[in-house]
Amino acid sequence: MKKIKKIKIKINGEIKSIYQDSNLSEVINNLKIPLNKVAIELNEEIIDKKKINKIKLNKNDKIEIVHFIGGG
């Protein structure tokens, strides 16, 4: 069986290892993040949440996932 290569990316400042050719949607789903309550940035660019299954991830990509918390 061919071994699938892994790559390293950063999510919210934490280094994570994912399968090469993963798309953004798979990564978000694996984290069990409710898509309707967050916004996503890939390399400091805001991502249209409707298109995340079409976005392939590359080595050293930086993802930020944010939501609303208590604040004044």
């Binding site: 999510i11 919210n12 944010v66 939501h67 004044g72």
Partner: protein, 257 residues
């Protein structure tokens, strides 16, 4: 009595009290205090999702954004770039256009950096945001913000979280006279009577967080602020008497035995 709504960016609100959702012991405490305060708008912050603890409670599970208007803020931003990034993300979460812009200039006193604030207001207004702007109590800057497309002017009463109450009543009154935009006192209130004073100066509303969240009894304080804002507004609308230096008896001087 005629209905006296607060109108911000063409949206009507019955309550003139806006409350922050930070600093509470728990999210359920925060939700309870909001309910008691009668607030229809709450400020919220934009932060990273905790990806290692997926069971962490979410604010939206406690405060329903369909019932209460979320006002995303830029707390913690110290320049225009950070503030714009934060609010663009906030909009992406679910279409939020009504936002609170707050660009701080000093980590100790938390005073706003008005140059960065002004720059950000212009950009956000052009991008279609409805911007409520935290600012200092300077009438000239307030005018500039208005000319840059702000939807509400929100001068501080005193430094954020200080509880000092309104320090510069004259400036607030001058700003009131010069603008038709909603004028909301944001930051620095310590007790309910501070809110009454703000409303009596002619402000359209007040924004309170720490004074409620950190009171010994937050729920009771939430209710006190609710009543204080209503009382202040009624007092302002009723037209106070002129101040005189001498006494003026309340009972008729005729017919004294």
């Amino acid at each position: 009595m005629k209905k006296d709504s607060l109108i911000i960016a063409n949206k009507k609100f019955n309550s003139r009290l806006i409350v922050g959702t930070g600093k509470y012991k728990s999210m359920s405490d925060c939700a309870k205090a909001i309910k008691l305060s009668g607030a229809e708008i709450v400020t919220v912050a934009v932060r990273r999702v905790n990806i290692s603890d997926k069971n962490k409670p979410l604010l939206m599970d406690y405060i329903d954004p369909k019932k209460i208007t979320y006002l995303p803020n830029t707390a913690g931003c110290f320049n225009s770039k950070e503030a714009l990034r934060t609010l663009r993300l906030a909009r992406e979460i679910g279409g939020w256009k009504l936002v609170k812009l707050e660009v701080l200039g000093d980590k100790k006193n938390l005073f706003p950096d008005m140059i960065e604030t002004l720059k950000s207001t212009e950009v956000l207004a052009k991008e279609g945001f409805k911007v409520m702007v935290y600012c200092n109590d300077d009438p000239l800057m307030a005018k500039r913000l208005e000319n840059s497309g702000a939807d509400a002017i929100m001068p501080l009463a005193a430094p954020i979280g200080s509880g000092l109450g309104i320090q510069n009543k004259i400036n607030i009154q001058i700003i009131r006279k010069q603008t038709k935009l909603p004028l909301i006192i944001d930051a620095g209130l310590g007790q309910a009577s501070d809110a009454t004073i703000a409303m009596e100066l002619g402000c359209d509303g007040v924004l309170v967080n720490t004074a409620i969240a950190k009171a010994k009894k937050p729920f009771e304080m939430a209710l006190a602020f609710k009543n204080a804002v209503i009382a202040g507004r009624q007092s302002y609308k009723s037209g106070r008497i002129d101040k005189i230096l001498m006494g003026n008896p309340s009972s008729p001087s005729k017919g004294i035995i």
